[in-house]
Symmetry: C3
Subunit: 275 residues, 3 copies
C-alpha cells in the first residue's frame, strides 16, 4: 500500500504550492522534487490564489512570518478549501511569540486543514494556546508523556477535523478515530534545520497525489521521512560525516526510497486506547 | 575560445548583482563564486541602483515575486541599461500566474535585456503570452517541437533584441542571426531545484566578464552548465547518491570545470535553417 | 579553556535569534545546530522583541537589507540591550551602498553591540565611513596592512565598546585593551557564500552560552571556524571535491570539532603593540 501511495507521487507529479519560510525553502523544494512532486514557492497576494488553483496541494508554513505573507496564506487557504485541494499546516515555532499564535488562531478559524504537523511543543501550544517550550525543536519526551500526547492529538483532530501529526522520537498520526504510532527516524535528524518543514512538504506531496486517502498518505509520508532519516544516518556513519553530510544524505535517501526494499520491515502500529 | 571566456571570469572576478528569489539565492551565490565571480544579492529599492552601478552584470529572476522587488528590478534594469551593463532575465514560472506575466511584460517594455533564459514553457509563454504549462520544469519535448522552438527563439530574439536561451534536454541559444544547439546536460539536473536559476547566474558571470562577446559568453555558460551536469551525474553514479548529492556535485563540477580538459569534445552545433 | 567554552554551547543549548539575510539563513541555522545551539530566524516587527527576550543572543546581519527588517533590528537590539543579552552585528556588504551605511550608522547609535564581525573592507568602512572595496569578500591583504588593521580594530573597539573581529587570511579579535591574532582557516572558505555570516552566528552561539566571558567566547568561535575550515579543506583534498563539497564539509567540521583533539595545537597569539 505504501509503495503504491509513494509511486503515485512519481506518476501524478503533483504541483505543491508552498507559502513558507526562507530558511528551509530550498530544502523543501528539493524534498518535493526528490519524492517526485513539483514545487512552486509563491507568497504574494496577487498570485497565490491562482497558483493554488492549479496545484494539487497547498502547504502553509508559519516560519519567518509577516503580515503580508499571512494574508496570502489566508487567501490561498480559502481558495484551496473552495476547490477541495488538501491544505497542510506547519505551525513552526508557534510558541515563540504571541504574533505567531494570533496568526495560527486566525488561520485555524478561517481555513480548514487536511493535515497539521508539528513537534510536541508546537502541537501542544496549538491545542492549549499556552506555551510549552520556547524551543522549536524539543523532541525528547518521557514515555508517559506520549500517552498524553496521543490523547491530545486525537482530541485536537476531532475538534479541528484535521489529521494531526506530532513528529519526534516517536511520531503520532491521528484522525478523529484512528491513531498510528511510527517508530522510525533518528535523533541526528534534529541536528539539521528544517527536517520538520521537509516532512510537512512530503506530506503535501503524498496527499496531493493521493487526495482520496489522506490518512494513509500522511502515514506513508511520515514513514518515508523516518526511514530516510535512518538510511541517511547509516550512510553517515560509514563516511564518518557531520551534520552537513546528514543534511545531504537525508535528501538523498528521500529520493532513493523504495518501500518495497525496506529491510527489517516497517515499524509502526495502530494505536488502540482501552476505554 | 570557451576556455578563454571562462578564464576571464576568474581574472576579472565580476561583481554580479542578483535580484532573485529566496529559494535558490544561496545556490546562485555559490555558483557565482564557483565560476570565479563575486555575487551580491540585494533587492531593496533604496540600494539597487547604486549596487547595479558598481556591478559587471545584473541578473533579474522572477521567482517568488512581489511588487517591491519588481520596482527594484525596474530601477536596477534601467540603471544598467543607462550604464551599458548587461542585464539577464530569468522568467521563472511565468506561466504560473497573471501577476508574473504582467510583471514580465512591463520589464520587457521598460528594460532592454542582453539575455533571457527560461525553459521551453517559460520562453513560449514569453513569446505568445499564453500558458503552455503550469509546470515550471517541463523539460522533455518531442523532436519535432524543437524545430518550432528554434524558430520561436529566433523570432523572439529579433523582436526583443535579446539573446534567447531555451534550456532543456537540448539547449537553444539564439541571437537574431545565429542559433546554436547544445547537446550537453543530464536529466538528473531537473531533479534538483534552481538549476535554471543557476544557469542564468552563470550566464550573468560569463557575460559580466566578457561584455563584448555576449553570444559566445552565453554559449560558453550554457556549455559549462551542461558539462558540469554530466560530470556531476557521472560522479553521482560512482557514489550511488541521490538528488541531495547531485545538488552538491553539480556545484562541485562548476567549480572544477576546465574547458581544456573536457573528454570527448564539446557537443554543440551552429544551426542553419534552410530558407 | 576553549574546550570548556565550546562544551558550554552543547550544555546550555542557547537559543540564538537571527535577523538575517535570505542567502545564508539556512547555513547559519545549520551552523548553529552544528555547534549545539538552537536557531530561530524571525524578522517581523510584531514578534522580534518577544523572541529576543527569550533568546540567549541576538545576531543582526545586514545582508539583503530593507526598511522593515531594519526597524525590527532596531527594536530587537534595544530589547536585548535592556535585558543584557549579547548582540552581535555583521555589517555584510556595508560598502556596497549608502543605504547600508545609513542603516549601520543608526544601528551603531541606537544599539550597543557586544561583538561586531566583518572582513577587512567592511570593518574599515565601519571605522571610516568611506568605501574601501565594493567587493564583499576581499580577503587578501598585504602583511603591512595587518598592523594598520589591528590599530583600526583596537580604536574602533574603544570607540564603540564592542569586541571587533576582522576575519580574513589572518583574523583579528580586539577588545579595547587586548588584541588576538588567529592564524587558522583556509582560502577555500572564501569560495563559498556565507562563511562570514556563519562565523558571526557561531560567535552568537558561543557568546550566548558564555555571556560572562565574551572576549574568550569570540576568540573560541573564531578559532573553531578557522580549524573547521582547515579540516574541511583537508577532507576536500582527499575526495577531490569542489566548492559544493567544501560547503558541506565545513558544516561537517563545525559539528565534529573537538578542541581537545586538535592536532598540532592552536595557532593564535596575544598581540602586543610596542608603545
Amino acid at each position: 500500500m505504501f509503495k503504491q501511495i509513494a509511486s503515485k507521487v512519481h506518476e501524478v507529479r503533483p504541483l505543491i504550492h508552498c507559502i513558507t519560510n526562507y530558511v528551509s525553502a530550498n530544502d523543501c523544494a528539493n524534498v518535493l522534487l526528490a519524492c517526485g512532486a513539483s514545487p512552486i514557492m509563491a507568497d504574494d497576494v496577487h498570485e497565490v490564489e491562482e497558483i493554488t488553483a492549479s496545484a494539487q496541494a497547498l502547504v502553509l508554513n508559519l516560519g519567518t512570518p509577516n503580515e503580508s505573507k499571512f494574508i496570502s496564506m489566508l487567501k490561498a487557504g480559502q481558495k484551496a478549501n473552495n476547490l477541495g485541494i488538501p491544505v497542510i499546516f506547519d505551525p513552526v515555532g508557534i510558541g515563540a511569540s504571541q504574533f505567531r499564535k494570533d496568526l495560527a488562531k486566525t488561520l485555524l478559524k478561517e481555513v480548514s486543514f487536511s493535515v497539521i504537523r508539528g513537534n510536541a511543543s508546537e502541537i501542544t501550544t496549538l491545542a492549549t494556546w499556552q506555551n510549552h517550550s520556547s524551543c522549536i525543536d524539543t523532541n525528547a519526551l518521557k514515555r508517559s508523556s506520549y500517552d498524553m500526547l496521543i490523547e491530545l492529538a486525537k482530541n485536537l483532530s476531532e475538534k479541528l477535523g484535521s489529521i494531526i501529526v506530532i513528529s519526534g522520537e516517536e511520531d503520532i498520526i491521528s484522525s478523529p478515530h484512528i491513531t498510528y504510532r511510527v517508530f522510525h527516524g533518528h535523533p541526528a535528524m534534529s541536528t539539521i534545520t528544517g527536517t520538520g518543514c521537509m516532512l510537512t512538504s512530503l506530506i503535501g506531496a503524498y496527499c496531493g497525489a493521493n487526495p482520496t486517502q489522506l490518512l494513509q498518505a500522511t502515514l506513508a509520508a511520515t514513514l518515508a521521512m523516518g526511514l530516510s532519516g535512518e538510511q541517511a544516518y547509516s550512510k553517515l556513519c560509514q563516511i564518518q560525516g557531520g551534520t552537513g553530510s546528514m543534511h545531504i544524505l537525508l535528501i538523498d535517501a528521500i529520493s532513493l526510497l523504495d518501500f518495497s526494499k525496506v529491510e527489517g520491515g516497517l515499524n509502526y502500529e495502530l494505536y488502540e486506547k482501552l476505554s
